[in-house]
Each structure stands twice: as structure tokens, then as C-alpha cells.
């Protein structure tokens, strides 16, 4: 039958209410989809914090702990890896490259990372992206520093800026290496990873600023080594905090991991960054589940709105139903009419919701990129999203069937008598 034009016109007749219902559904659908997109993107951004590194080696502790301090620069290492071990590893025939990381100092709340040129050559994140400079270059001189995009933005630094590194990780550390100031020589392009929040110097520089320090305290005045004198000294470090390893052949990964973990010379731990990232996400991921649950509940509330709107209209439409019956509409038609109205409203709401998701993203994209250096991706609709939308339509159909059934029963009981 040609019920559809009837449903359309009936909806148009009640466009104010229908519009509001569509809006409330759109909002709830947009929220659900945004939450999904957000957690998907958070997950993939998280997973792409580091890539291309086959093993991370640190002193023996927890694997998540090692990942946190070496990659996310969160927390601190309880122990170090000896320099001789690093040298052995770097020369190992199965190892393609080994990046030493030395952490522990900070600059105005941002961690300072001591490393070498291999870092700029081999470090990868995201989809095999390497470190690129927005301005300047990698450190060449002993007192050169390179800063992440967020450091540059937050502190307003440009190349040429003189900075002083503080001892320890706290932002309020009073012990500063004020006698050995650094010059910012490069700014790294935004990466959306912890690199953005890091000040990079050379390993030797870390050694140099600690030459005259003993057990976390600067040496008394007379025994200080000046910045120039430090250049003459042997700046080979005793130890590093962690080592990132790239292997010549991925097949060797587990074998190397096992031999490092079983190394007798010192207590070490080697982890596979991908696996540990996943373990970490499964802890953080609960938030994702909670957000999704909220999204689903809001969507359910949207459906209840739809149900309420239709139920409320039923009484005033009783006459309309009786008229339709008298011109030949069967109760099944009445049922179909109401269900199709419900589905129509839900589908429109869904459509607007999807558009809202794009709109919200279009608005959020430049803001997020400017504020966090994160480039939000356009929604990548997955089968899950499709399933959610289909499920939503099904739920709307079922919700619409409730008032439709009521109208159906009523149209049978009322017959053709038109009641006010």
C-alpha cells in the first residue's frame, strides 16, 4: 500500500514534536558514535606511540613499568643498564641498531632525554613515521638541546633559546644545573606521542652536567667543573636508563629477548613494546568500556524519547485511526503506519547524528591539533559502528511497535466509532 506518503505527511504535520524527537535521537547517536570514534582513535594513537622497535631493555622490574618510563616518560627507573652492556648489544651481530635512553632530569616539568644520533635515525612511531624537525636540526654540540612540539608551544621556545636543566623529574626542583646552560637548536614536528613533551640532549651532555654531582647534590663550590672544562673530560656514561633495539631479523626477537632476560651479568628485562602496549591498554581500556556504556545508555534514553513522543500523540490521533479504518485501512495498516513513522524518525535522527559526529569532529580537529598536536582522523566506520546503527534501527522498530500495537488493539476495539 502507499502508506509511506501518509506517514511522511503525518510527521510533517507534527514537525515541531518530530523535529525535537529527531534532535534528541541525533544527539544520543552522535554521542555514542563520538565516544566510539574517540576510543578507537585513542586506542590507535596509543598503539602507535612507538613502532619499529623490536625490544626495549631496562633494569629488571615490571614490564609495564619499563614501558611507562622508557616510552611514555612516566615514573622512573629503579635501576640502570650498564654502559658495557649497551656497547655489547650495539655491536651484537643480530642487532641492527640500539638507541640508548637516559632519563632522570627535567626542564620546567618536561622530561629531559639523553640519547644519541641513532635516536633521530632509527626511532619510529605511528605508521612508520620518523622524527622530523619543524625547525632547526639534531644536537651537534655538547650543550645543544632539541625540544618537542608541545614544549616549544607551551614555553614559547624557538631555536636559539637558552635553557637550564633541573635535576630530578619534578617541576619544582630547586637543584638546577645552572652552570651548564643549553641552547635549543631544533624543534621536532608534532608527533602526537610523548616526544612532543620531551627535551632531548646528547648522552654526553647528561654525563657532563652530572660530572661534579655526588649523590644528587651539587659539589661544593671549589670542586665544581665548569661547562668548558667538562668538554675536556671523558663523557662516556656509566649506565643508561633503557635501550631500544631494532633487530636485523624479526625472527630473532624471542631468542634475543630470552637471552637478555636470562643474562647473568646484571638483572635485565627485555619487553616487546607491542605486547606490553596491549597489556597496558587492557588496563586503560576499562575507561573505554565505561564511556561506551554511557553512550549506549544515552542512546537508550533517545529511544525512550521517541517512544514517549509517539505514545503521547496516540490519543489525539485516535480519530485519525478511525477515519483511516473507515476508508479501508486494516489494523495492520495502522500498525505499519505507526511503526514506519517511528522508524522514519529514528532513521532521520540517526542520519543527523552521523552528520553531527562529522561536524563535531570538523570543529574539534583544528582545536585538538592546535592544543595537543594530535591530528584527529576522520571517522573510520567499522563493522561495529554499522552493527550499532543497525541495532539502533532495530531497537527503534521494536520501540515503535509498542505504540503501534496499542493503536492496533484500540482500532479493533473502537471500530469505526470516532471518539474525542
Amino acid at each position: 500500500m502507499t502508506l509511506l506518503p501518509l506517514a511522511v505527511r503525518s510527521l510533517w504535520n507534527r514537525r515541531a514534536t518530530a523535529g525535537l524527537t529527531i534532535l534528541s535521537i541525533a544527539i544520543s547517536v552522535a554521542l555514542l558514535l563520538s565516544v566510539r570514534q574517540f576510543s578507537e582513535q585513542a586506542r590507535s594513537a596509543f598503539a602507535s606511540t612507538i613502532s619499529g622497535t623490536d625490544l626495549i631493555v631496562g633494569a629488571r622490574s615490571g614490564d609495564i613499568n619499563l614501558l611507562l618510563y622508557s616510552v611514555f616518560h612516566l615514573g622512573s627507573a629503579t635501576n640502570n643498564v650498564s654502559w658495557p652492556f649497551y656497547e655489547r648489544l650495539a655491536k651484537h651481530r643480530q642487532v641492527a641498531w640500539a638507541i640508548p635512553l637516559s632519563l632522570g632530569d627535567s626542564h620546567r616539568g618536561f622530561r629531559v632525554l639523553g640519547t644519541n644520533d641513532d635516536y633521530y635515525r632509527h626511532y619510529r612511531f605511528g605508521d612508520d613515521r620518523k622524527i622530523e624537525f619543524a625547525a632547526g636540526r639534531a644536537p651537534a654540540d655538547l650543550y645543544d638541546a632539541v625540544i618537542g612540539a608541545e614544549v616549544a608551544r607551551t614555553l614559547g621556545y624557538k631555536a636559539g633559546e637558552q635553557i637550564v636543566i633541573a635535576h630530578g623529574a619534578g617541576s619544582t626542583s630547586f637543584a638546577e644545573h645552572a652552570d651548564k646552560p643549553f641552547t635549543v637548536v631544533g624543534v621536532i614536528a608534532p608527533t602526537g606521542t610523548p616526544i612532543d613533551r620531551t627535551v632531548h640532549v646528547s648522552l654526553a651532555a647528561i654525563q657532563a652536567i652530572h660530572l661534579d654531582w655526588q649523590s644528587g647534590m651539587p659539589a661544593p663550590k671549589g670542586q665544581r667543573v665548569s661547562a668548558q672544562d667538562a668538554r675536556q673530560q671523558d663523557l662516556t656514561p656509566d649506565s643508561v636508563t633503557a635501550i631500544l633495539i631494532g633487530l636485523k631479523s624479526k625472527i630473532d626477537t624471542f631468542q634475543i629477548q630470552r637471552s637478555i632476560n636470562e643474562y647473568r651479568g646484571e638483572p635485565l628485562l627485555a619487553i616487546l613494546p607491542g605486547v606490553t602496549l596491549q597489556n597496558l591498554w587492557s588496563i586503560v581500556g576499562n575507561v573505554e568500556v565505561a564511556l561506551l556504556a554511557v553512550g549506549l545508555l544515552v542512546t537508550a534514553a533517545g529511544l525512550v524519547c521517541l517512544l514517549v513522543a509517539i505514545l503521547a500523540s496516540l490519543n489525539e490521533r485516535r480519530r485519525e485511526m478511525a477515519i483511516l479504518r473507515s476508508v479501508g485501512a486494516r489494523p495492520a495498516h495502522i500498525f505499519a503506519l505507526l511503526v514506519s513513522e517511528a522508524v522514519g524518525v529514528a532513521a532521520l535522527g540517526m542520519l543527523v547524528g552521523v552528520l553531527c559526529t562529522y561536524l563535531a569532529l570538523a570543529i574539534a580537529r583544528p582545536l585538538v591539533q592546535h592544543t595537543y598536536g594530535l591530528l584527529l582522523q576522520w571517522p573510520a566506520w567499522s563493522l561495529t559502528d554499522l552493527a550499532i546503527l543497525c541495532g539502533f534501527l532495530t531497537a527503534a522498530t521494536l520501540a515503535g511497535a509498542i505504540p503501534a500495537w496499542q493503536a492496533y488493539r484500540r482500532s479493533l476495539a473502537d471500530g469505526l466509532t470516532i471518539r474525542l
Binding site: 485519525e320 476508508v327 479501508g328 485501512a329 489494523p331 471500530g415 469505526l416
Partner: protein, 233 residues
């Protein structure tokens, strides 16, 4: 055309309301049926329209045994063969006048075909009927149904009932919301249109003064023995 035999009807669990031993209406006859309020006139029309089912007896329209078939068949039969006019508020508020008149075509294949045969297209037939009930289609066709006066709305309802030439027109107090003048004109119009389309007309009212315009008049009390039983008891 209409044949009722030994029909009994009571609303669920209630007293018997209708007990009609026999009622026959010939094809093309225009019948006026009257009776006091609450006497069961609308209920009888519900039986004729196949909306209600008698507990006993048979209701035949045009040789079709309504009381013997399933509800869906009765619904279809009503759509194809019967045009209804009610007391008031006959129109779907969100449809235009023209769409209201052509509404039966959405549910009945036969009426759609017949309407198209008569005037060439559905909307042409709807316009013809509007003109026939005295509403200039160029003025009223695209108006919203709610923008018409009561009398105009009833005329649109009549046009709709006549749309696609159903064999039977059932009018349940279609004039009780109209003033005396409009009422006269409406009845004259309905009668002549029914004659033109050779439809049988059952016109119900509690106002016996309208009877003169019809071929035949029936007092419900005369054919309904349930009422007599009740008054006797």
C-alpha cells in the same frame, strides 16, 4: 443488496442490544434509519460495515456473507464496497482536501480503478466529486482539511464516501453538527449523488424530521426485537 437474517448482537458481556429477525434493503434504495440516542444505530452500521461481528445470524451485502469470513476479508470488503460518512471530524487533518477525497484509493484497488475509469485520473475524479458536492476544486483542492467549515468538511466527507463508486454509502448522523439550512442542502446533495452513482444509501439520524427526503424510512425500534424484549421485561 443488504440482507440481515436473525441477527443478534450484544457488546461484550452486556445485554442483547440488537435482535433483528430480518432486514432487506434493495440496490439503489435510499434508506433513512432513525431511533433515539443509544438505541444501537451506530452499532447496526458497524455490523453492516463488517467492523463488528454478530453473535448470531447472517449479514449479507451484495451477496457477500460478511458474518462468515475472517476479519481481514471483511476489512477488504469494506474498503472496496462501502463509503462512510460520520457525524463530524471526518477528515485527516494533515492531508489536503484533494488527498482526503482520494484517500480510499490508497486502500482499495477496485475503487482506484473505477475512479480512474470515470475521470481519467484519481485526482481528476476527486476534483469532479468536489465540484459535485459544491466545492470549487480550484479554490479548495489544495487547502488543508482543517481550514474548512463544518459544513464544507461534511461535503468533502461525502465526496470521499462516493469516491470510486462504492455500492453502499453509510452515513452516521452526518448532519447533526450542521445548521438546518446546510443540513437540507447536504441531504439533497448526498441523495442526488447516490442516485447518480447508483449507490445504496443508509442514512442514520435521531432527527425524524429528515425522513421525507428518502425512499424509505425505518425506525430501528420496529425491526429490533431486543428493545421490545427489554421494554417488556
Amino acid at each position: 443488496m443488504i440482507e440481515l437474517n436473525d441477527v443478534r448482537f450484544s457488546w461484550s458481556g452486556g445485554e442483547p442490544l440488537l435482535a433483528i429477525a430480518s432486514l432487506q434493503v434493495a440496490r439503489g434504495e435510499r434508506v433513512f434509519m432513525h431511533g433515539p440516542s443509544g438505541s444501537g444505530k451506530s452499532t447496526l452500521l458497524g455490523l453492516l460495515g463488517g467492523v463488528l461481528e454478530p453473535q448470531r445470524g447472517s449479514v449479507r451485502i451484495d451477496g457477500f456473507e460478511l458474518s462468515a469470513v475472517k476479519r481481514s476479508l471483511r476489512d477488504r470488503f469494506r474498503a472496496e464496497h462501502i463509503g462512510f460518512i460520520f457525524q463530524m471530524f471526518n477528515l485527516i487533518p494533515y492531508l489536503s482536501v484533494l488527498d482526503n477525497v482520494a484517500l480510499p484509493a490508497r486502500f482499495s484497488e477496485q475503487r482506484r480503478k473505477r475512479a480512474a475509469d470515470i475521470s481519467g485520473s484519481l485526482y481528476d475524479e476527486a476534483r469532479r466529486l468536489l465540484a459535485a458536492v459544491g466545492l470549487d476544486p480550484t479554490v479548495y483542492a489544495d487547502r488543508q482539511a482543517t481550514q474548512l467549515s463544518q459544513g464544507q468538511q461534511q461535503r468533502v466527507a461525502a465526496a470521499r464516501a462516493l469516491f470510486g463508486r462504492p455500492q453502499l454509502i453509510i452515513a452516521d448522523e452526518p448532519t447533526s453538527s450542521l445548521d438546518a439550512d446546510t443540513r437540507e442542502r447536504f441531504i439533497t446533495l448526498l441523495s442526488s449523488e447516490c442516485r447518480a452513482s447508483e449507490a445504496t444509501l443508509i442514512f442514520v439520524s435521531h432527527d425524524a424530521s429528515l425522513r421525507s427526503q428518502f425512499d424509505r424510512q425505518i425506525a430501528l425500534a420496529d425491526i429490533n426485537s431486543a428493545a421490545r424484549l427489554e421494554t417488556a421485561a
